[in-house]
């Protein structure tokens, strides 16, 4: 279970502190970007917040059923966002093509979500409401998200649960046969629906099955083991994609009236993350290069309770449920020389329960970003535990000895048995005997392609949904809300807004010989050819690992202007070396996993730099973004609403040219901005 | 498949019961053989019931063998490239021997019918019109007894898996307890039938049952 149970309110509110109030800050990123015009969401609705979505739906134009058969949609991605959209648009009668890089649509990484999905059903009668979910989500996002979008999300959350139950998603139930809920990730109400520790899997299977039903009905066609490598634009509109059949290597052109990107998150830019091996930025980055703005790319969520790195061979990290923090106590040795001792031999007096010490009120239950950052701090002091990774031990103890003494082993097993087993399988250690070791890991990216209220990017006809867009979570995502966003967008939002766009269609027919198509295709072919012919000395993985180290070190849990500038330099030279010295064997005409990785890493190498620039320019701390320069006297994050309450949307201009920053100012009418505090 | 298999089981159970009459001596056994033929008279003609049973058995045999052949063929086509290394971890030997066990049984039945019903072959060259004596003569021959015992091993294995399998095929094993019971029943039926059949040949060979 990734994210569950009762971590208390991470967004407890106090008045904006006097110290460090906003003033003109120096521009750290001068010379790294150019200023552009402010960005205005032309679809942004007005009026009372609870009527905005209703009005938008009503005003969205219709397409007659008979016409829909002539209107085609390409959807890249089959996670919760993509599969739900494909199913729904298929049911409506559009001609849908669905793409994923896995061998089955059901393997999209949404499958890995464990904890649950929020919905404002108020089945527990504990005072939940659409407004409360809206409020919690905006607050959790540290006031860096758009209020209209979040409100809509909270509204449709209720329909999601109805839809999923009707599809046969086996949510947890009580003996009376009604749905069970739990409270999750820092809220005071029980609104999280869950399916044991596999909520993501069960929701995704529901969406996948709904989509496969449309495949049988002939409205959806699936293309598995197909990777989108380029966006096709004709006359300023998105009209298709260039994809590679990963089995035959064939470069295919697919054209349509609308393109939807639901390609997930790019946390793998850090190499190690809780994301799947194949998660990538290619789909969105290619679109970015064609003119879609990338918003808030630096907002990254780092989850505190993951199984730590065990050595240089590590390929990915595994999440452990946050719920463990309810009963486990986190500590490190007080003395560095104790770090390689058997933890059971370290006396109480020599242990530092640092979260309990620094945050006596919240203790081990402080929010994710705090817990993560403090773990990094103690390890940086040389007091981490576990194997040496480079020069440091990267781990802290999560100790259940006290819980076992208090509750008994059986009770602990009953509550956390499956997590303990998973831990034992991966580490080979018995957590009932020896304290677990945990460490933070990259988990989710709040940044993504900029979209308007209709989920349309700055390229007409290019819609972006799910983790791939930036829209709903601001600077920090609350647990159990990404699943909600993916399904809300796919089932209920996109079908309405895409319909409105398609009311102008069908657009002029284009064929594969259109110059714009030919150009996109040959760009892809050239790139593949380039990667295969460099024939240098270093493997793709070694570049990816090095990029990950740079990102983690300089654009990770704590960011400084100096570090970020250094990071940018390092990334630039690594990128230069990549294109000179990468070694990709095999051919383009067959399954070639090194080639696939190479294309993805090449895009990560560009994205990484933009993330650093975005971090560098945002000289404030908010949500998952912590700038050392912007903290309170006692080391807590300090937001700067005066200067930074905007969405940073980046425009790609040219290779080597400076990215252009467009600011979309955030205005709150339904909620008041407050500073977070947890002491 | 399951239905035909169960019909076989019903038959072999009663057949075994009949065979055990050999322990009651010459007359009891022959009376029983005669009774088999005359039962149902005069409603049915002589050997009427016997022919009904024979028809049911023959029908089942056709169905059973046909299904077995289809399954075999499908399995062969489902994996044409074999594993270089394959380990079985959970299955019983019986379950994996079903096809060869079935072939063994088929061969056995052909011989058996030649031996006792159709051909009435008396390997000792004695009389063939007296069922009891034919039986004793046959099993006095050690190698014939061995053939029978091998066939009984095949039968036992076939039944051990067959009973469980039939229960599963009929959809009767929907929980752990039911599965455990079906397996236990398989073992029981296998031991009782194969064991029961084996008694007569063994005791004949051992000289306990004599003419």
């Amino acid at each position: 279970m990734a994210e569950k149970d009762t971590v208390p309110d991470m967004t407890d509110v106090t008045d904006f502190p006097e110290t460090g109030s906003p003033q003109e800050e120096p521009n750290d990123a001068a010379g790294y970007y150019a200023d552009g015009d402010p960005l205005i969401d032309k679809k942004a609705p007005t009026g009372p917040i609870d009527e905005r979505w209703e009005n938008r739906k009503f005003n969205a134009r219709l397409a007659a059923p008979a016409n829909r058969r002539n209107l085609s949609v390409i959807i890249v991605g089959t996670g919760l966002a993509g599969a739900s959209a494909a199913a729904t648009l298929g049911e409506a009668g559009y001609v849908v093509k669905s793409f994923c890089y896995q061998d089955s649509p059901r393997r999209a990484h949404s499958i890995a979500a464990q904890g649950g999905i929020n919905a404002a059903k108020n089945y527990k009668g504990d005072g939940d409401s659409v407004h409360r979910l809206f409020y919690d989500t905006v607050k959790g996002g540290d006031y860096r998200s758009r209020e209209s979008n979040v409100y809509r999300l909270a509204e449709v959350s209720r329909n999601i649960i109805d839809q999923c139950v009707a599809q046969g998603v086996p949510f947890a139930r009580e003996y009376g046969g009604l749905l069970d809920n739990r409270s999750f990730g820092g809220v005071q109400v029980s609104r999280t629906f869950y399916a044991r520790g596999q909520t993501g899997q069960q929701l995704l299977i529901g969406a996948y099955q709904a989509m496969e039903r449309q495949v049988a009905a002939g409205t959806v066609e699936t293309f598995t083991r197909h990777e989108m490598l380029e966006l096709v634009m004709v006359d300023g509109r998105a009209r298709g994609i260039i994809a590679r059949d990963m089995v035959t290597g064939e470069i295919e052109t697919h054209l349509a009236d609308v393109v939807v990107l639901a390609s997930g998150g790019y946390g793998n830019v850090y190499f190690l993350s809780t994301n799947a091996m194949g998660c990538n930025v290619t789909a969105t980055w290619r679109a970015h290069r064609k003119g879609a703005y990338m918003a808030n790319p630096c907002y990254t969520q780092i989850h505190p309770t993951c199984i730590p790195v065990s050595g240089e061979h590590q390929s990915k990290l595994t999440l452990m449920s946050e719920s463990l923090r309810n009963d486990g106590r986190i500590w490190v040795p007080k003395k560095r020389e104790d770090c390689d001792k058997d933890p059971r031999d370290i006396p109480e007096a020599d242990r530092d329960y640092y979260l309990e010490r620094i945050y006596p009120a919240f203790g081990n239950l402080v929010p994710r970003d705090i817990a993560s950052r403090q773990a990094k701090n103690v390890c940086d002091e040389g007091r981490g535990v576990g194997p040496l990774v480079g020069d440091f031990r990267r781990g802290v103890y999560l100790d259940f000895a006290e819980a076992i003494a208090r509750m008994g082993k059986d009770a602990v097993e009953e509550k956390y048995g499956n997590l303990f087993d998973m831990y034992a399988r991966i580490t080979g250690e018995d957590p009932y005997e020896v304290p677990m070791r945990i460490y933070p890991a990259v988990h989710y990216v709040m940044g993504g392609l900029w979209v308007d209220y209709d989920l349309q990017s700055t390229i007409p006809g290019l819609f972006v949904t799910g983790e791939a867009n930036f829209s709903d979570h601001g600077a920090n995502r609350l647990g159990a809300s990404a699943l909600m966003q993916g399904l809300g967008d796919g089932y209920f939002v996109l079908p309405n807004t895409v319909r409105d766009y398609l009311a102008d269609g069908p657009f002029e027919k284009i064929d594969e010989n259109h110059p714009a198509v030919v150009e996109a295709r040959s760009a892809v072919e050239q790139r593949i050819n380039a990667l295969l012919t460099i024939n240098g000395d270093r493997s793709v993985d070694s570049f990816h690992r090095e990029l990950g180290h740079i990102m983690w070190e300089y654009c990770g849990m704590e960011r400084t202007a100096e570090g970020l500038r250094k990071g940018i330099d390092l990334i630039r030279s690594l990128r230069e070396e990549f294109w000179r010295n990468v070694k990709v064997l095999g051919s383009a005409e067959s399954l070639n996993q090194s080639l696939e990785k190479a294309g993805r890493v090449a895009d990560f190498l560009e994205l990484g730099e933009l993330m650093c620039v975005d971090s560098l320019h945002r000289r404030e701390s908010c949500g998952g973004h912590f700038r050392a320069e912007s903290q309170t006297e006692d080391g807590e994050a300090l937001r700067d609403d005066e200067n930074y309450s905007y969405v940073a949307a980046w425009e790609f201009t040219d290779e080597g040219a400076l990215p252009v920053l467009h600011k979309e100012h955030l205005v709150y009418t339904a909620i008041e901005m407050k500073q977070r505090s947890y002491k | 498949m399951a239905v035909s298999g169960l019909i076989f089981i019903a038959f072999v159970l009663s057949h075994m019961y009949g065979n055990l009459k050999a322990f009651s001596g010459h007359d009891a056994y022959n009376t029983y053989a005669e009774h088999l033929r005359s039962v149902g008279e005069p409603v049915l003609p002589r050997e009427g019931l016997l022919w009904l049973i024979r028809a049911a058995l023959l029908g089942s045999l056709v169905v059973h063998v046909y299904c077995a052949a289809v399954l075999w063929r499908r399995a062969a086509k489902a994996r044409t490239t074999k594993y270089v290394m394959k380990r079985n971890v959970a299955s019983t030997l019986s379950s994996r021997m079903m096809r060869w066990g079935g072939v063994t049984l088929l061969l056995f039945i052909v011989w058996h019918l030649l031996n006792f019903t159709v051909g009435k072959i008396n390997v000792e060259g004695g009389a063939t019109n007296d069922p009891y004596n034919l039986l004793v003569d046959s099993f006095d021959t050690w190698w014939l007894t061995v053939i029978y015992l091998i066939a009984m091993v095949a039968l036992g294995m076939h039944l051990r898996h067959g009973v469980w399998s039939a229960a599963q095929t009929l959809g009767l094993t929907n929980n752990v307890a039911a599965r455990r019971n079906a397996n236990a029943l398989g073992v029981l039926v296998a031991v009782v039938i194969a064991g029961g059949f084996s008694l007569v040949p063994i005791f004949v060979l051992a000289g306990v049952i004599t003419k």
């Binding site: 091996m277 065990s310 | 489902a78 290394m85 299955s91």
Partner: protein, 247 residues
Amino acid sequence: MKVTLKIWRQPDAASKGAMHTYEVDDVSPDMSFLEMLDVLNERLNAQGEEPIAFDSDCREGICGMCGLMINGQAHGPEVTTTCQLHMRSFKDGDEITIEPWRADAFPVVKDLCVDRGAFDRIIQSGGYISVNTGAAPDAHAVPVPKDKADRAFDAATCISCGACVAACPNGSASLFVGAKVTHLGELPQGQAERDRRVVSMIGQHDHEGFGGCTNIGECTAACPKEIPLDVISRLNWDLHAALRHGK
């Protein structure tokens, strides 16, 4: 530790494959099995030999993408997915045979990768509950008894990895089909299509060229999600019921 690997290599579906032998010597017991293969691949790449293709994505045992036949056992010697298998399950000096899933319905794509599209087509044939988006009643309109919900859940944990097929001596996918039929058939929402679902899913299963089930039970032992044999019994029961109802 050091291990000797015998690995199936096959350039593409059309070519013939063969076993190749590799040695990997700097194996740490904390490595996952796939990380050990990563290490081998890095080395092959450096030597100018094309890396071995194998599938994986989540590497946490849930997406079902990974799956290798390891020493004759689907997903190797532990009851888990290949990606969750660790090298501490092996000894120094072990020889390990690695092959792809073998089933004609899962053709080899390259080396250790196979095409499991047949599973998607089986789902297309009826593995769903027909409900259009927006047409659903309130989630509390139909209560589901907890035991039914739990049973549905147990069956729904199938990750579509195909280990059941790989392990079955008959190459049957009955455990996979049974799991879906049980998941949807246990729930009140799934009743309307229950007969039709089982008949068409079994029809598609047979059409794809999977073998028939003779209740051998290797599948459930190989299943990383421990789907029980009940689901096959359930599949048969539902099939007989559907045939009785004239479907």
